[in-house]
Protein backbone atom coordinates (compact mmCIF):
# COMPACT_ATOMS: atom_id res chain seq x y z
CA UNK A 1 0.00 0.00 0.00
CA UNK A 2 2.63 2.44 1.16
CA UNK A 3 4.85 1.45 -1.75
CA UNK A 4 2.03 2.08 -4.17
CA UNK A 5 1.46 5.50 -2.68
CA UNK A 6 5.12 6.36 -3.13
CA UNK A 7 5.06 4.97 -6.64
CA UNK A 8 2.28 7.40 -7.53
CA UNK A 9 4.16 10.25 -5.95
CA UNK A 10 7.27 9.36 -7.91
CA UNK A 11 5.19 9.23 -11.07
CA UNK A 12 3.84 12.72 -10.38
CA UNK A 13 7.33 13.91 -9.50
CA UNK A 14 8.71 12.50 -12.72
CA UNK A 15 6.06 14.34 -14.65
CA UNK A 16 6.77 17.46 -12.72
CA UNK A 17 10.47 17.07 -13.27
CA UNK A 18 10.03 17.92 -16.91
CA UNK A 19 8.44 21.19 -15.92
CA UNK A 20 11.34 21.78 -13.55
CA UNK A 21 13.72 21.01 -16.37
CA UNK A 22 12.09 23.70 -18.50
CA UNK A 23 12.15 26.09 -15.53
CA UNK A 24 15.79 25.24 -15.00
CA UNK A 25 16.45 26.20 -18.60
CA UNK A 26 14.75 29.52 -17.99
CA UNK A 27 16.85 30.11 -14.92
CA UNK A 28 20.04 29.27 -16.81
CA UNK A 29 18.94 31.62 -19.59
CA UNK A 30 18.01 34.12 -16.92
CA UNK A 31 21.48 33.93 -15.40
CA UNK A 32 23.09 34.35 -18.80
CA UNK A 33 21.04 37.44 -19.51
CA UNK A 34 21.79 38.79 -16.06
CA UNK A 35 25.46 38.15 -16.65
CA UNK A 36 25.33 40.06 -19.91
CA UNK A 37 23.44 42.89 -18.24
CA UNK A 38 25.99 42.87 -15.43
CA UNK A 39 28.84 42.86 -17.92
CA UNK A 40 27.35 45.77 -19.84
CA UNK A 41 26.77 47.72 -16.65
CA UNK A 42 30.28 47.08 -15.33
CA UNK A 43 32.08 47.76 -18.60
CA UNK A 44 30.29 51.02 -19.29
CA UNK A 45 29.66 52.50 -15.91
CA UNK A 46 28.97 55.85 -17.44
CA UNK A 47 25.86 54.53 -19.23
CA UNK A 48 22.67 56.07 -18.00
CA UNK A 49 20.37 54.26 -15.64
CA UNK A 50 17.54 54.46 -18.13
CA UNK A 51 19.26 51.99 -20.41
CA UNK A 52 19.78 49.56 -17.58
CA UNK A 53 16.12 49.66 -16.72
CA UNK A 54 15.10 49.14 -20.32
CA UNK A 55 17.33 46.11 -20.70
CA UNK A 56 15.74 44.68 -17.59
CA UNK A 57 12.35 45.27 -19.13
CA UNK A 58 13.34 43.45 -22.31
CA UNK A 59 14.52 40.61 -20.20
CA UNK A 60 11.23 40.41 -18.32
CA UNK A 61 9.27 40.42 -21.54
CA UNK A 62 11.41 37.62 -22.93
CA UNK A 63 10.57 35.55 -19.88
CA UNK A 64 6.89 36.25 -20.19
CA UNK A 65 6.72 35.26 -23.85
CA UNK A 66 8.37 31.89 -23.51
CA UNK A 67 5.43 29.56 -22.88
CA UNK A 68 5.54 27.13 -20.05
CA UNK A 69 3.67 23.85 -20.42
CA UNK A 70 2.92 21.78 -17.35
CA UNK A 71 2.97 18.05 -17.87
CA UNK A 72 0.51 15.80 -16.09
CA UNK A 73 -0.20 12.12 -15.78
CA UNK A 74 -3.91 11.36 -15.70
CA UNK A 75 -4.23 11.23 -11.91
CA UNK A 76 -2.78 14.70 -11.63
CA UNK A 77 -4.74 15.94 -14.66
CA UNK A 78 -8.15 14.69 -13.53
CA UNK A 79 -8.81 17.77 -11.38
CA UNK A 80 -9.25 19.82 -14.58
CA UNK A 81 -12.26 17.66 -15.46
CA UNK A 82 -13.94 18.12 -12.12
CA UNK A 83 -13.87 21.78 -11.13
CA UNK A 84 -16.91 22.72 -9.11
CA UNK A 85 -16.78 26.51 -9.30
CA UNK A 86 -19.14 28.65 -11.36
CA UNK A 87 -17.13 28.58 -14.56
CA UNK A 88 -17.86 26.83 -17.83
CA UNK A 89 -14.86 24.77 -18.87
CA UNK A 90 -14.11 23.96 -22.49
CA UNK A 91 -11.47 21.26 -22.60
CA UNK A 92 -10.04 20.33 -25.97
CA UNK A 93 -7.80 17.31 -26.50
CA UNK A 94 -5.41 17.95 -29.38
CA UNK A 95 -1.90 17.46 -30.69
CA UNK A 96 0.34 19.41 -33.05
CA UNK A 97 0.40 16.45 -35.47
CA UNK A 98 -3.40 16.24 -35.62
CA UNK A 99 -4.51 18.20 -38.69
CA UNK A 100 -8.22 18.54 -37.81
CA UNK A 101 -7.19 19.66 -34.30
CA UNK A 102 -5.00 22.43 -35.68
CA UNK A 103 -7.81 23.47 -37.98
CA UNK A 104 -10.30 23.95 -35.15
CA UNK A 105 -7.83 25.43 -32.65
CA UNK A 106 -8.52 29.06 -33.66
CA UNK A 107 -12.19 28.51 -32.78
CA UNK A 108 -11.22 27.57 -29.24
CA UNK A 109 -8.94 30.58 -29.06
CA UNK A 110 -11.82 32.75 -30.21
CA UNK A 111 -14.12 31.29 -27.54
CA UNK A 112 -11.44 31.90 -24.94
CA UNK A 113 -11.20 35.52 -26.02
CA UNK A 114 -14.84 36.45 -26.53
CA UNK A 115 -16.33 34.44 -23.66
CA UNK A 116 -13.81 35.38 -21.01
CA UNK A 117 -16.19 37.83 -19.41
CA UNK A 118 -18.92 35.19 -19.46
CA UNK A 119 -16.91 33.02 -17.10
CA UNK A 120 -15.79 30.54 -19.75
CA UNK A 121 -12.34 29.03 -19.58
CA UNK A 122 -10.65 27.10 -22.37
CA UNK A 123 -8.02 24.47 -21.63
CA UNK A 124 -6.02 22.94 -24.48
CA UNK A 125 -4.74 19.50 -23.54
CA UNK A 126 -1.88 18.43 -25.76
CA UNK A 127 -1.33 14.73 -26.37
CA UNK A 128 1.92 15.29 -28.20
CA UNK A 129 4.64 12.76 -27.45
CA UNK A 130 6.99 13.99 -24.68
CA UNK A 131 9.96 14.11 -27.01
CA UNK A 132 8.00 16.63 -29.12
CA UNK A 133 7.35 19.12 -26.31
CA UNK A 134 10.48 21.17 -26.99
CA UNK A 135 10.63 20.52 -30.74
CA UNK A 136 6.97 20.94 -31.73
CA UNK A 137 4.58 21.88 -28.93
CA UNK A 138 6.31 24.91 -27.41
CA UNK A 139 7.34 26.37 -30.80
CA UNK A 140 3.73 25.88 -31.94
CA UNK A 141 2.35 27.77 -28.94
CA UNK A 142 4.88 30.54 -29.57
CA UNK A 143 4.26 30.75 -33.28
CA UNK A 144 0.49 30.93 -32.95
CA UNK A 145 0.59 33.02 -29.78
CA UNK A 146 -1.96 30.77 -28.10
CA UNK A 147 -3.74 32.63 -25.33
CA UNK A 148 -5.69 29.73 -23.85
CA UNK A 149 -4.01 27.69 -21.16
CA UNK A 150 -2.11 24.72 -22.57
CA UNK A 151 -1.17 21.64 -20.58
CA UNK A 152 0.34 18.37 -21.72
CA UNK A 153 -1.13 15.03 -20.75
CA UNK A 154 1.41 12.24 -20.74
CA UNK A 155 -0.04 8.92 -19.65
CA UNK A 156 0.62 6.02 -22.02
CA UNK A 157 -1.92 3.68 -20.40
CA UNK A 158 -4.77 5.30 -22.29
CA UNK A 159 -7.07 2.30 -21.91
CA UNK A 160 -7.31 3.16 -18.24
CA UNK A 161 -7.94 6.87 -18.50
CA UNK A 162 -9.91 7.38 -21.74
CA UNK A 163 -13.14 6.00 -20.21
CA UNK A 164 -12.61 8.31 -17.22
CA UNK A 165 -12.70 11.29 -19.58
CA UNK A 166 -15.81 9.91 -21.26
CA UNK A 167 -17.33 6.49 -21.78
CA UNK A 168 -18.26 7.69 -25.26
CA UNK A 169 -14.68 8.41 -26.34
CA UNK A 170 -13.09 5.86 -28.66
CA UNK A 171 -9.75 7.64 -28.34
CA UNK A 172 -9.74 9.51 -31.64
CA UNK A 173 -8.51 13.10 -31.72
CA UNK A 174 -9.78 15.78 -31.64
CA UNK A 175 -12.13 15.43 -28.70
CA UNK A 176 -13.76 18.05 -26.50
CA UNK A 177 -15.54 18.27 -23.18
CA UNK A 178 -17.67 21.19 -22.14
CA UNK A 179 -18.85 21.22 -18.54
CA UNK A 180 -19.89 23.24 -15.58
CA UNK A 181 -20.77 22.04 -12.12
CA UNK A 182 -24.24 20.99 -13.28
CA UNK A 183 -23.76 19.23 -16.58
CA UNK A 184 -21.22 17.99 -19.06
CA UNK A 185 -21.10 17.08 -22.73
CA UNK A 186 -18.49 15.11 -24.64
CA UNK A 187 -17.78 15.51 -28.36
CA UNK A 188 -15.61 13.22 -30.45
CA UNK A 189 -15.67 15.49 -33.49
CA UNK A 190 -14.27 18.60 -35.12
CA UNK A 191 -16.01 21.91 -34.59
CA UNK A 192 -16.74 24.87 -36.79
CA UNK A 193 -16.80 28.14 -34.83
CA UNK A 194 -20.59 28.36 -35.13
CA UNK A 195 -21.07 24.84 -33.80
CA UNK A 196 -18.70 25.41 -30.92
CA UNK A 197 -20.34 28.70 -30.03
CA UNK A 198 -23.74 27.03 -30.05
CA UNK A 199 -22.56 24.29 -27.69
CA UNK A 200 -20.86 26.75 -25.32
CA UNK A 201 -23.99 28.92 -25.26
CA UNK A 202 -25.97 25.94 -23.94
CA UNK A 203 -23.86 26.14 -20.80
CA UNK A 204 -24.25 29.87 -20.25
CA UNK A 205 -27.17 30.89 -18.14
Amino acid sequence: MVLKKYKNQIKVLLNKSYTYYIMYNFIVMDLRILFIVFFVVVSCKQESKVQEVSSNLVHENALKEKPNVDVYNFDAFEKFLNSTDDKVYVINFWATWCAPCIKELPHFEEINKTYKDKNVEVLLVSLDFPKQYEKKLIPFIEKHQLQSKVVALNDPDSNTWIPKVSEAWSGALPATIIYNKDKREFYEKSFSYEELKMEVNKFIK
Partner: protein
Protein backbone atom coordinates in the same frame (compact mmCIF):
# COMPACT_ATOMS: atom_id res chain seq x y z
CA UNK B 1 -33.54 -10.26 -4.39
CA UNK B 2 -29.88 -9.30 -4.62
CA UNK B 3 -29.76 -10.66 -8.13
CA UNK B 4 -32.71 -8.58 -9.28
CA UNK B 5 -31.11 -5.44 -7.86
CA UNK B 6 -27.99 -6.27 -9.83
CA UNK B 7 -29.99 -6.79 -13.02
CA UNK B 8 -31.96 -3.59 -12.54
CA UNK B 9 -28.81 -1.55 -11.88
CA UNK B 10 -27.07 -3.15 -14.85
CA UNK B 11 -30.05 -2.21 -17.01
CA UNK B 12 -29.99 1.31 -15.63
CA UNK B 13 -26.31 1.62 -16.53
CA UNK B 14 -26.91 0.29 -20.03
CA UNK B 15 -29.76 2.76 -20.50
CA UNK B 16 -27.71 5.61 -19.12
CA UNK B 17 -24.74 4.83 -21.34
CA UNK B 18 -26.91 4.40 -24.42
CA UNK B 19 -28.73 7.64 -23.65
CA UNK B 20 -25.39 9.38 -23.67
CA UNK B 21 -24.07 7.66 -26.76
CA UNK B 22 -27.14 7.65 -28.99
CA UNK B 23 -27.04 11.35 -29.71
CA UNK B 24 -23.27 11.29 -30.22
CA UNK B 25 -23.54 10.81 -33.97
CA UNK B 26 -23.28 7.08 -33.33
CA UNK B 27 -19.72 7.11 -32.12
CA UNK B 28 -20.17 3.51 -31.09
CA UNK B 29 -21.78 2.33 -34.30
CA UNK B 30 -20.07 -0.49 -36.12
CA UNK B 31 -19.23 -3.90 -34.76
CA UNK B 32 -19.37 -5.01 -31.19
CA UNK B 33 -17.54 -8.08 -29.95
CA UNK B 34 -19.55 -11.10 -31.12
CA UNK B 35 -20.77 -9.55 -34.38
CA UNK B 36 -19.97 -11.12 -37.74
CA UNK B 37 -17.60 -8.94 -39.73
CA UNK B 38 -18.07 -8.30 -43.42
CA UNK B 39 -15.59 -9.55 -45.95
CA UNK B 40 -14.25 -7.12 -48.54
CA UNK B 41 -12.31 -6.91 -51.72
CA UNK B 42 -9.70 -4.16 -51.41
CA UNK B 43 -6.66 -3.29 -53.46
CA UNK B 44 -3.33 -4.32 -51.97
CA UNK B 45 -0.13 -2.34 -52.50
CA UNK B 46 0.90 -4.92 -55.13
CA UNK B 47 -2.19 -3.99 -57.18
CA UNK B 48 -4.03 -7.27 -56.49
CA UNK B 49 -7.42 -7.43 -54.83
CA UNK B 50 -7.49 -9.11 -51.42
CA UNK B 51 -10.43 -10.67 -49.56
CA UNK B 52 -10.55 -12.50 -46.26
CA UNK B 53 -12.03 -15.45 -48.19
CA UNK B 54 -8.70 -15.80 -50.03
CA UNK B 55 -7.06 -17.09 -46.85
CA UNK B 56 -8.37 -20.65 -46.90
CA UNK B 57 -5.98 -21.89 -44.21
CA UNK B 58 -6.50 -18.99 -41.79
CA UNK B 59 -8.24 -19.54 -38.47
CA UNK B 60 -8.93 -15.83 -38.24
CA UNK B 61 -7.47 -12.40 -38.89
CA UNK B 62 -5.82 -9.52 -37.10
CA UNK B 63 -7.42 -6.65 -39.02
CA UNK B 64 -5.56 -3.40 -38.32
CA UNK B 65 -6.83 -0.05 -39.55
CA UNK B 66 -3.65 1.95 -39.90
CA UNK B 67 -1.88 4.50 -42.08
CA UNK B 68 1.43 6.18 -42.87
CA UNK B 69 0.75 9.62 -41.50
CA UNK B 70 -0.47 9.13 -37.95
CA UNK B 71 2.31 9.23 -35.34
CA UNK B 72 0.50 6.61 -33.26
CA UNK B 73 0.23 4.30 -36.26
CA UNK B 74 3.88 4.89 -37.05
CA UNK B 75 4.81 4.12 -33.45
CA UNK B 76 3.13 0.73 -33.89
CA UNK B 77 4.46 -0.22 -37.35
CA UNK B 78 7.15 -2.57 -36.09
CA UNK B 79 4.79 -4.13 -33.58
CA UNK B 80 2.18 -4.79 -36.29
CA UNK B 81 4.87 -6.45 -38.41
CA UNK B 82 5.93 -8.51 -35.37
CA UNK B 83 2.32 -9.61 -34.87
CA UNK B 84 2.17 -10.88 -38.44
CA UNK B 85 5.50 -12.71 -38.09
CA UNK B 86 4.35 -14.34 -34.88
CA UNK B 87 0.79 -15.25 -35.79
CA UNK B 88 0.46 -15.62 -39.58
CA UNK B 89 2.02 -19.09 -39.31
CA UNK B 90 -0.38 -19.96 -36.51
CA UNK B 91 -3.41 -19.08 -38.61
CA UNK B 92 -3.94 -15.42 -37.67
CA UNK B 93 -2.37 -13.20 -40.34
CA UNK B 94 -2.39 -9.41 -40.10
CA UNK B 95 -4.55 -7.62 -42.66
CA UNK B 96 -3.78 -3.90 -42.62
CA UNK B 97 -6.32 -1.48 -44.07
CA UNK B 98 -5.59 2.18 -44.74
CA UNK B 99 -8.93 3.99 -44.25
CA UNK B 100 -8.06 7.67 -44.80
CA UNK B 101 -9.30 9.88 -47.63
CA UNK B 102 -6.09 10.38 -49.58
CA UNK B 103 -7.27 13.71 -51.01
CA UNK B 104 -7.11 14.99 -47.43
CA UNK B 105 -4.00 12.96 -46.59
CA UNK B 106 -1.90 12.56 -49.74
CA UNK B 107 0.80 10.99 -47.55
CA UNK B 108 -1.44 7.93 -47.34
CA UNK B 109 -1.97 7.39 -51.07
CA UNK B 110 -1.19 4.08 -52.72
CA UNK B 111 2.31 5.12 -53.80
CA UNK B 112 3.11 6.33 -50.29
CA UNK B 113 1.71 3.09 -48.87
CA UNK B 114 3.91 1.09 -51.24
CA UNK B 115 6.98 3.11 -50.29
CA UNK B 116 6.28 2.75 -46.56
CA UNK B 117 5.67 -0.99 -46.81
CA UNK B 118 8.89 -1.42 -48.76
CA UNK B 119 10.94 0.70 -46.37
CA UNK B 120 9.60 -1.15 -43.32
CA UNK B 121 9.57 -4.57 -44.96
CA UNK B 122 5.88 -5.26 -44.27
CA UNK B 123 5.06 -8.93 -44.85
CA UNK B 124 1.30 -8.46 -44.51
CA UNK B 125 -1.22 -7.14 -47.05
CA UNK B 126 -1.59 -3.36 -46.79
CA UNK B 127 -4.94 -2.56 -48.37
CA UNK B 128 -6.54 0.71 -49.32
CA UNK B 129 -10.14 1.26 -48.27
CA UNK B 130 -10.95 2.84 -51.63
CA UNK B 131 -14.23 4.73 -51.34
CA UNK B 132 -14.05 4.42 -47.54
CA UNK B 133 -16.85 1.85 -47.37
CA UNK B 134 -15.26 -0.75 -45.09
CA UNK B 135 -14.03 1.16 -42.03
CA UNK B 136 -17.52 2.55 -41.18
CA UNK B 137 -18.96 -0.97 -41.32
CA UNK B 138 -16.37 -2.09 -38.79
CA UNK B 139 -16.86 1.09 -36.79
CA UNK B 140 -13.19 2.04 -36.81
CA UNK B 141 -12.74 5.63 -35.70
CA UNK B 142 -8.99 6.02 -35.65
CA UNK B 143 -5.62 4.65 -36.60
CA UNK B 144 -4.39 2.30 -35.32
CA UNK B 145 -7.57 0.36 -34.51
CA UNK B 146 -7.56 -3.44 -34.29
CA UNK B 147 -10.37 -5.92 -34.95
CA UNK B 148 -9.47 -9.52 -34.17
CA UNK B 149 -11.66 -11.94 -36.11
CA UNK B 150 -12.12 -15.68 -35.74
CA UNK B 151 -13.48 -17.89 -38.49
CA UNK B 152 -16.69 -19.58 -37.40
CA UNK B 153 -19.46 -21.36 -39.26
CA UNK B 154 -21.46 -18.13 -39.24
CA UNK B 155 -18.58 -16.11 -40.65
CA UNK B 156 -15.69 -14.07 -39.30
CA UNK B 157 -16.70 -13.27 -35.76
CA UNK B 158 -15.30 -10.20 -33.97
CA UNK B 159 -13.45 -11.36 -30.86
CA UNK B 160 -11.51 -8.30 -29.80
CA UNK B 161 -11.62 -4.56 -30.60
CA UNK B 162 -9.12 -1.94 -29.63
CA UNK B 163 -5.47 -1.23 -29.00
CA UNK B 164 -2.39 -3.32 -29.70
CA UNK B 165 -0.92 -2.92 -26.22
CA UNK B 166 -0.91 -0.51 -23.29
CA UNK B 167 2.04 1.73 -24.18
CA UNK B 168 2.33 3.46 -27.55
CA UNK B 169 5.42 5.38 -26.48
CA UNK B 170 7.70 2.69 -25.28
CA UNK B 171 7.48 -0.90 -26.38
CA UNK B 172 9.83 -1.90 -23.59
CA UNK B 173 7.42 -0.51 -20.99
CA UNK B 174 4.41 -2.48 -22.27
CA UNK B 175 2.75 -4.48 -19.52
CA UNK B 176 -0.32 -5.75 -21.38
CA UNK B 177 -0.13 -7.04 -24.94
CA UNK B 178 -3.85 -6.92 -25.61
CA UNK B 179 -3.82 -8.36 -29.14
CA UNK B 180 -1.26 -11.07 -28.40
CA UNK B 181 -3.17 -12.11 -25.28
CA UNK B 182 -6.39 -12.25 -27.28
CA UNK B 183 -4.92 -14.33 -30.13
CA UNK B 184 -3.17 -16.63 -27.64
CA UNK B 185 -6.50 -17.15 -25.90
CA UNK B 186 -8.23 -18.04 -29.20
CA UNK B 187 -5.40 -20.42 -30.11
CA UNK B 188 -5.70 -22.09 -26.71
CA UNK B 189 -9.48 -22.24 -26.95
CA UNK B 190 -9.82 -20.01 -23.91
CA UNK B 191 -11.94 -16.97 -23.12
CA UNK B 192 -10.32 -13.65 -24.03
CA UNK B 193 -9.78 -11.67 -20.82
CA UNK B 194 -9.88 -8.14 -22.23
CA UNK B 195 -12.21 -7.99 -25.22
CA UNK B 196 -12.23 -4.24 -25.70
CA UNK B 197 -9.62 -1.61 -25.01
CA UNK B 198 -9.16 2.03 -25.91
CA UNK B 199 -6.22 4.07 -27.04
CA UNK B 200 -5.55 7.52 -28.40
CA UNK B 201 -5.31 7.59 -32.15
CA UNK B 202 -5.69 9.82 -35.19
CA UNK B 203 -9.25 10.27 -36.35
CA UNK B 204 -9.87 8.68 -39.74
CA UNK B 205 -9.79 11.42 -42.36
CA UNK B 206 -12.99 11.71 -44.39
Amino acid sequence: MKKSIKIVSALAIVLLVSAFTLNKKNVNSGYQVGDIATDFSLKNIDGKMVSLADFKEAKGFIVVFTCNTCPYAVAYEDRVEALNKKYAGKGYPVIAIMPNNTDVKPGDNLEAMQARAKAKGFTFPYLKDEGQKIYPEYGATKTPHVYLLQKTKKGNQVKYIGAIDDNYQDEAAVTKKYVENAVDALLAGKEIQEKETRAIGCSIKV
